[in-house]
């Protein structure tokens, strides 16, 4: 028998009772929220875009805590009082607590975080690093698997990593014929076993059952941002790589 929920069922910050796919935040202070993650709320809550309309305290908070310019458009600030229910593509949602720690997470999987955490763009494209103390919510396709290095992870399956395992690329060079071919596969659309993320060092790696990357807008923006500095021949090479990739995709 299903229960019709009312605010008294939703106590504190937790998954909606009996539902791994929805999460309820007991909103008392502002949270950063991924655009489109809100599915319902009780109470008085305002959502303000980071790019305009912020004032006073909130503007200062954003300026301090949010240093990921590529993702400014992807997050909003939720402020007010009430119960805020989040969902994401039917993925499992979990909350994590960071205590003066750091964790890097795939941008598409970060749903919300408290302003006690500062958000920084990771040097790994498509990933964000959270530093500080506070709570954040992340979604994953199936339950998250925690694993310890040394290990190698399929780029599509990687949710994030905590503490300091050092990530690097690993190529099964035995049959990746040329570096250009490897470069063409760089951006995750076509993932074979020939490329992995290699993790060494002490820490934890978070993994999900692999997902097809649907929203690659942040990667696109990152590539675009680097184009102005390129030489003529470099641009031509990218042009070539893009057109051959397009041709490949049309075959499917």
């Amino acid at each position: 028998m299903s229960v019709v929920l009312n605010p008294s069922h939703l106590v504190g910050n937790d998954n909606v009772p009996g539902n791994n796919y929805a999460y309820c935040i007991d909103l008392q202070s502002p949270w950063f929220l991924s655009k489109g993650a809100m599915i319902a709320y009780y109470g008085q809550i305002q959502f303000t875009a980071l790019t305009h309309g912020l004032q006073g305290q909130l503007l200062q908070m954003v300026a301090h805590q949010f240093s990921a310019p590529l993702y400014l458009g992807d997050y909003v600030v939720a402020e007010g009082y009430g119960k805020l229910i989040l969902g994401d593509r039917g993925y499992d949602i979990n909350s994590y607590d960071l205590d003066d720690g750091n964790l890097t997470i795939r941008a598409a999987n970060l749903l919300a975080f408290e302003p006690g955490l500062s958000l920084n763009q990771s040097i790994v494209p498509g990933f964000l690093t959270l530093i500080g103390t506070g709570k954040f919510l992340a979604s994953s396709n199936g339950p998250v698997i925690f694993a310890e290095p040394p290990l190698r992870v399929d780029p599509e399956a990687l949710v994030g990593w905590a503490d300091c395992p050092s990530p690097s690329h690993h190529f099964d060079e035995s049959w990746v014929t040329g570096f250009v071919a490897a470069g063409a596969r760089m951006f995750g659309v076509q993932s074979g076993e020939e490329r992995q993320f290699d993790f060494t060092g002490a820490g934890t790696v978070l993994i999900q059952s692999s997902e097809k990357v649907i929203d690659d807008s942040s990667v696109v923006r990152m590539i675009e941002g680097q184009l102005p500095g390129l030489t003529n021949s470099g641009l031509q090479r990218i042009n070539h790589a893009v057109s051959s990739q397009l041709q490949q995709q049309q075959q499917f």
């Binding site: 396709n141 698997i145 076993e193 997902e211």
Partner: protein
């Protein structure tokens, strides 16, 4: 058990125990240890156990629409497999047997299993096959149309283990009781053992368009298990 479930969508396998594992390309999630991945059934990669490919056979499979790029994992270590968040289901074939499954629904199998392409509606090795002649061909074409991948299906035989993929959870239906088992063709995932699947149509000229969408069914007879997914999504 060769494969172990980590959660509903992820399986792990210890290559020391299982020997080389053949899996769909892109299905490896992560691994520890020293593991080497190489394309399966590609000329020049010879000497691989179970790799009875050769370019002719591979081309044939592609033509039949019954081919997914696969990778073989060898070495010492533990590999985790999953595919696009689909549910996984482990089929234990340590006692031997035959498993018929579409290539698109096969996540991984131990390399000791022999794989071959057979006609979709034929019972493996057992009586009758898919029926020759025009009727058989028509039936095959209809099955292909319905399941969306082709008239042919992959058959694994021998001793080992395999992992199936499904959208929504998998349920196992025992075939061989007094009554036949009917399955929606889109929910059909795989059949273990000598199970014969025949496409039945309740559609005729008289009731065309008024059958409520359940006019095509797979009738499963014989002895074995049929795997059915809780969804009608094609893979």
């Amino acid at each position: 058990m060769t494969f172990t479930k980590v959660n509903s969508k992820v399986v792990r396998v210890d290559l020391n125990q299982s020997g080389p594992v053949v899996a769909r390309r892109g299905a490896m999630l992560f691994y520890t240890g020293t593991v080497h991945f190489s394309p399966h059934q590609v000329p020049g990669a010879g000497g691989m156990p179970g790799g009875m490919g050769g370019i002719v056979s591979m081309a044939g499979r592609m033509m039949q629409g019954e081919h997914e790029a696969t990778m073989v994992a060898q070495g010492n270590g533990v590999v985790h497999y999953g595919f696009r968040g689909l549910e996984t289901h482990i089929v234990d074939m340590s006692a031997g047997g035959e498993l018929r499954v579409e290539a698109s629904r096969l996540l991984a199998h131990t390399s000791g299993l022999q794989s071959a392409v057979v006609q979709a509606s034929a019972a493996p090795a057992a009586a009758g096959g898919g029926g020759g002649g025009l009727l058989g061909a028509l039936r095959g074409a209809a099955t292909g149309m319905v399941t969306g991948t082709g008239m042919f299906t992959t058959q694994l035989s021998g001793y080992g283990a395999a992992v199936l993929l499904a959208h929504g959870g998998i349920i196992e239906l025992q075939v061989g009781g007094p009554a036949p088992v009917f399955v929606d063709p889109q929910s059909f995932v795989a059949a273990l053992g000598p199970v014969r699947t025949d496409l039945k149509s309740t559609m005729s000229w008289r009731n065309a368009g008024r059958t409520g969408g359940e006019s095509l069914q797979l009738e499963c007879t014989g002895q074995g298990i049929v795997y059915v997914q809780a969804s009608e999504e094609k893979l």
